[in-house]
Amino acid sequence: MNTSNSATKARRQTQRTREYIIEKLLFASAIVSVFTTLAILGVLLFEAIGFFGQVSIVEFFTATQWTPLFAPQHFGVLPLVWGTILVTIIALAVAVPIGLGSAIFLSEYAPDRLRRVVKPLLEILAGVPTVVYGYFALTFVTPLLQNFFPQMIVFNALSAGLVMGVMIIPMVSSLSEDAMLAVPQSFREGAYALGARKHEVALKIVVPSALSGIVASFILAISRAIGETMIVSIAAGSTPKLTLNPLESIQTMTGYITQISLGEAPFGSLEYKTIFSVGVTLFLMTLVVNLIGQWVAKRYWRRY
């Protein structure tokens, strides 16, 4: 009796130890994500501080020329930031209307059977690797556009932006559609009862009710466009420029980072450190955009 009792006690003890160890292991897996964020901040800031020891931070954010690879060196990040913004604007001009139109079609018009065919196809579009989109921009879209704009350069902001827009359509359409599907059916029925037509219900009832979800999808699309790398590396060129003309060759922040990475810049050189200073700028831009997006999305979830 006594021995079996102590055996049970011992077994309970080992069980308790096991439970404890497992909980700590699972906690350790969860905390990896926090260390990832700290590591991103640590690495970016450590190398960027080294960079800003050699280049004035004021020059970096205000000068209008970016020529770190040839003399005279200039380290003004604005042309790269502008390149990113220009391509993002073109991409949004494609993705916002088409994505929203697709979402309205899928949520308000399409019969169930059609939706079941089209949605997986859009998912395929979202799953195509970005290097494939880059290939498409350079070898198909650019020659096509050159028929209309003979003066267009092979590497240009327009092709890259248009194709990037196609790439983010599925993101806009699927998130907007989710928001529209969340609009209560009774809203639509009320409008129909007042004699509204289908397009009036879509435009005056569904879209306004789902607006914050739709806006959140646009903001996420902006964040994706800012961070997208391969399409611009392949098709947009490598000449950082403050230009409004989308037919010219430009360079984005991501494109610059790729260009330097390809050359295996020697560790510790100023050239190597520029990757991190541009990286910090890119990281902060997407972080701000993502936080705005989360804030908007949260407002939307609270409503219904």
Binding site: R18, E19, S33, V132, G227, S261, L287
Partner: protein
């Protein structure tokens, strides 16, 4: 009695509705036509170059002798190692957050943090890997450094999809087990994990198929090397398919465009295979659950 002006307005509303419908339809058609054109373009350019010689050769200066072998094996190495590293950590983190975590500031911070990490551009992970794994931990531009970077990149997605799988396990199952005196780990291992496992696996395979197409972070880690060997260990230098495709696209001779397109076909076939496995697992599971 319908008066004339109102009938006129009715017709114009009808036309308006028709036009709006047409616009939405055009939107969806543009997406579908783009997808078709993109695939057609790649297959048309690449098929003539796709043969056994292409699959079994190393890169070369001569387009006729170049192939994707080193990049194919590089991708398999990176994705294999990434799978081994990311699955247990991702599932562990999801189990902690759903089954163990207390409701406190640390837990909500971890959640917020994961959501934010999912939005960090992939090239930033590449920079992280370059600074942390390649340089600080002195792993060099190796497969291991690449796989560790990829692991950090896809972890947020694996965690989020695994959390969804765990949440779909009915509360009552857990409570039944607790009522029988099971410990938390016994419930997690015996009840939650088997039920949520197919969902976790599907999510992980889909994230890995995203990883296999990622070029940007791998360029930061591997740089552009001329790999003329099949890697034999995790500390070897490597290249992956998207980098090889990128490299061929950038070469001026038009023959290399054909090679790039052939590489794209191989990449898409691998992706299709991985996605089919994921869908197969999901369907099998759904049938069994019914």
């Amino acid at each position: 009695m319908v008066t004339k002006p109102s009938r006129k307005r009715d017709t114009s509303r009808k036309i308006e509705g028709g036009m709006f419908y047409a616009l939405c339809l055009v939107g969806i058609l543009i997406s579908l036509v783009s997808l078709a054109t993109l695939l057609f373009d790649a297959f048309q350019d690449g098929l003539p170059w796709l043969d056994v010689q292409f699959l079994t050769s190393f890169p070369s200066r001569f387009p006729g002798q170049a192939g994707i072998l080193a990049a194919l094996f590089g991708s398999i190495w990176v994705v294999g190692l990434t799978a081994i590293l990311s699955f247990p950590i991702g599932v562990g983190a999801a189990l902690y957050l759903e089954e163990y975590a207390p409701q406190n500031w640390l837990t909500s911070f971890i959640r917020l943090n994961i959501a934010n990490l999912a939005g960090v551009p992939s090239i930033v992970y590449g920079i992280l890997g370059l600074g942390l794994f390649v340089e600080a931990l002195a792993l060099g531009r190796s497969i291991l450094a690449g796989a560790l970077t990829m692991t950090l990149l896809i972890l947020p997605v694996i965690i989020i999809t695994s959390q969804e799988a765990i949440r779909s396990v009915p509360r009552a199952y857990r409570e039944g087990a607790y009522a029988l005196g099971a410990t938390r780990w016994q419930v997690t291992r015996g009840i939650v994990l088997p039920q949520a496992f197919p969902g976790m696996l599907t999510g992980t395979i889909l994230s890995l198929s995203r990883a296999i197409g990622e070029a940007a972070p791998m360029i930061a880690i591997a740089a552009l090397v001329y790999v003329r060997f099949v890697p034999t260990g995790p500390l070897d230098r490597f290249t992956v398919m998207p980098i090889q495709i990128f490299n061929w696209v950038n070469l001026p001779q038009s023959e290399f465009r054909g090679l790039a397109a052939a590489g794209i076909i191989v990449l898409l076939v691998v992706l299709l295979g991985m996605n089919s496995i994921a869908i197969f697992i999901r369907n099998r599971y759904q049938k069994r659950a019914r």
